[in-house]
């Protein structure tokens, strides 16, 4: 096994360190976050840090870094209070990665990449039409993380759109069936396609774990 310590990490070349550290915590969610300015100009970028914060009320969070933030996302969310989260699917990865580049550029809209803007239910932020699973979110608060000068944005989930066929009777959504499959990120730039191995029921202590698909598999 290779071993690197905090001292080794701090001494690494910047890109090398960023690649290593972005990979070491495991797979990340892969979403396009779309906003619009107070003048109605749309802006979209890849955000790999969206995380579940709670189900009741439905909430998510994500991190913005002052050094590398998509400044327009930051500004638009604080000005308008709304944004959308759109899953990136297998057939969207090249286009999506062009939006990752938007983080540091002034180029911004949907048009250059071929993604189409979609307005739904008079929600004050655009969705990405190509995405088969998307959320309309309302900004609630930001928390400053003093240890590395980042901001955690916290938002409520106001709308969820998804294909009916991917939902199981207990509410669960099968993400490898969402569109041509929702992807996950390995580091900053490795787009990966997951396949469901199994889904397990919670066992009572001492009981055997059972699969949801056992009757199908055996």
């Amino acid at each position: 096994m290779e071993h690197v310590s905090a001292k080794d990490i701090l001494g690494m070349e910047k890109t090398y360190r960023r690649n290593l550290i972005h990979c070491c915590t495991g797979y990340k969610s892969a979403n396009l976050v779309a906003t619009q300015s107070s003048e109605g100009k749309p802006y979209v970028a890849v955000i790999n840090s969206i995380f579940h914060m709670g189900s009741n009320p439905p909430m998510l969070g994500f991190i913005l870094r002052p050094q590398t933030i998509p400044k327009k996302i930051y500004k638009n969310i604080l000005e308008t209070g709304y944004f959308t989260v759109n899953h990136i699917h297998k057939d969207m990865i090249e286009q999506a990665h062009q939006m990752a580049d938007n983080i540091n550029s002034e180029n911004s809209g949907f048009t250059p990449t071929g993604f189409e803007k979609e307005l739904l239910e008079e929600f004050p932020a655009p969705y990405v039409k190509q995405s088969a699973l998307k959320l309309g979110c309302k900004y609630l608060e930001k928390y400053h993380i003093k240890e590395n000068n980042t901001e955690i944005f916290v938002a409520g989930i106001e709308h969820i759109y998804y294909e009916a066929g991917i939902q199981m009777p207990d509410g669960w959504l099968r993400l490898d069936d969402a569109g041509p499959g929702t992807v996950t990120l390995n580091g900053l730039d490795g787009y990966s396609l997951p396949s469901l191995l199994d889904r397990f029921r919670y066992a009572k202590p001492g009981q055997e774990i059972t699969s949801f698909f056992k009757t199908v598999k055996t």
Copy 2:
């Protein structure tokens, strides 16, 4: 497309809502977090909310919910200041899901599940021997999220252990080659195995996106 609004979500049966909301933000990281009490008694549980917080200094975060937290994890981290993060691989999912159940039980150690505890470099928290990618972390701070009464724990990454063969020259780790492959979580209980589709370089505005593997693929 199905559409559910915040009002619909708040009216859902609890398990249904939890399944839906845990799936809708995309894939999650799948890790075993291991700690020990101040008396040296180990405790391990699945944590699906580990997220990258920054590379310099190397930091990660995760969420603990007062209602459902693994109370021993909370207590041990605050008492000892240290914990480890251990990737869950394809061959570990059934065992790992038994640890998910530990969240609400008093049963805690490694032994009942067959996972083995590993002590490395005199680090004051145990690692999971079966894991091929693991981190030694130092607790830094917790932030109370008032909107849903959760805590975000923030930690520094002090040690990284991984197999040399999974690293590319630019630091990036190929997670589908870590052990028999690192898994990702679809919701709370759907263990999925990703395969790398492609890895892209950042393009300058107006330039075409290029793949790291283009020379291999064509």
